[in-house]
Symmetry: C2
Subunit: 186 residues, 2 copies
DNA sequence: GCCTCATTAAACCAATCGGTCTAGATAAGA
DNA sequence: TCTTATCTAGACCGATTGGTTTAATGAGGC
């Protein structure tokens, strides 16, 4: 049997495997099994092998966040953009059931392989949020702290959620972060 | 040449390798190289292999936190115990240069292997902190939220710090979390 | 000084790793 | 319809994986 994929499908499928297993934990055989893509297909789309797969997956994730969150924060009306950010985040991480690939890569030595895209992703997120807060009238110093708190709070909520202490912890944390951001903004 | 180790040394050394590489990323050859322990020694101390190493490392980390943080929160005077927690955390994570092994394990499928100790660690931390806050006069609902915020905030700060966006982000985040906890407590 | 036994070093193993290659299937253009 | 270029399946490769075994080492009790 032969099933034909497009590269964009392949990226999304491979992304999910990296998200679930991490870079080292995702072996080629795991990837072929879970994506149903054969090695032939994978090496056709990604001649650079596993490293290229991960690099393109990171770029794909970054592009999603840029489009849905960073650009709005950078260009749209601050309050609307921030509100949109919260719903996009909750949506993307499926209420804590899905983790942040880039955050996970940052924790172990995988970071060394992809240092630049990882740093850039977080830097752009905090900077964009900070700018939106300032634009909305928050003092610069406070805006910086609030934006870092929000982004790092999201990452922490994902860890706690995945740790399985509580099913509802992600939603609750997100609501708390959102509240804190809004009450200092308005 | 022959160097003799004790098991407790072995656990601490192996822990550092898991922390840096993650469970899957830490191959036996990586572990032998970085710890300078031969396979013979490792399998002598941990007949159950890599899985037993990780299990004992998790127990070792949990014991440290229990002794230095959880038990004080559960039994000592709340304010002193909370103050002690912050210094212990900053110390343990070396100002963000070291990550939380248990948090990292929670993110990928390694979690499925060690679900119970991972869940217990975070549950005990949040519960102990919550109890200390209540004991100090914080309303129950608020105490729950504050304790979750603090623990997840620490995990998030470690992610951001390792992502390398900023050298000082961990200290700054920790100070912010501490402030928030104290201002609502006092 | 001599045993004893916990501990170590390193050769060794099957299984799996990431990666290559080839033969065949198939869609699209001429 | 025939050709061509793209894509897929899976056998195959050497290297590395987690794990086992065996012989040697050496500290501590006698």
């Amino acid at each position: 049997m032969r099933t034909v994929f497009e590269k964009s499908d392949a990226i999304a499928l491979v992304a999910e495997v990296f998200r679930e297993c991490g870079y080292e934990g995702a072996s080629m055989s795991t990837i072929t099994k879970r994506t149903r893509l054969s090695k032939g297909s994978l090496y056709h789309f990604f001649p650079g092998g596993k490293e290229q797969m991960a690099a393109e997956v990171l770029a794909h994730v970054d592009a999603w966040f840029a489009r849905e969150i960073f650009v709005p924060l950078e260009t749209a009306e601050p309050r609307a953009a921030i509100a949109r950010m919260w719903t996009a985040v909750d949506d993307y991480f499926r209420s804590g059931k899905r983790i942040c690939l880039i955050g996970a890569f940052a924790l172990d030595e995988t970071r060394d392989r992809f240092a630049a895209p990882i740093r850039t992703y977080f830097k752009r997120w905090t900077t964009a949020l900070e700018a939106a807060l300032i634009c909305d009238g928050t003092p610069a110093e406070r805006a910086k702290q609030l934006s870092e708190d929000a982004v790092s709070g999201i990452q922490g909520a994902l860890v706690l959620s995945r740790a399985g202490a509580d099913e509802t912890v992600f939603e609750r944390s997100l609501a708390g972060l959102r509240n804190r951001l809004e009450s200092r903004t308005g």
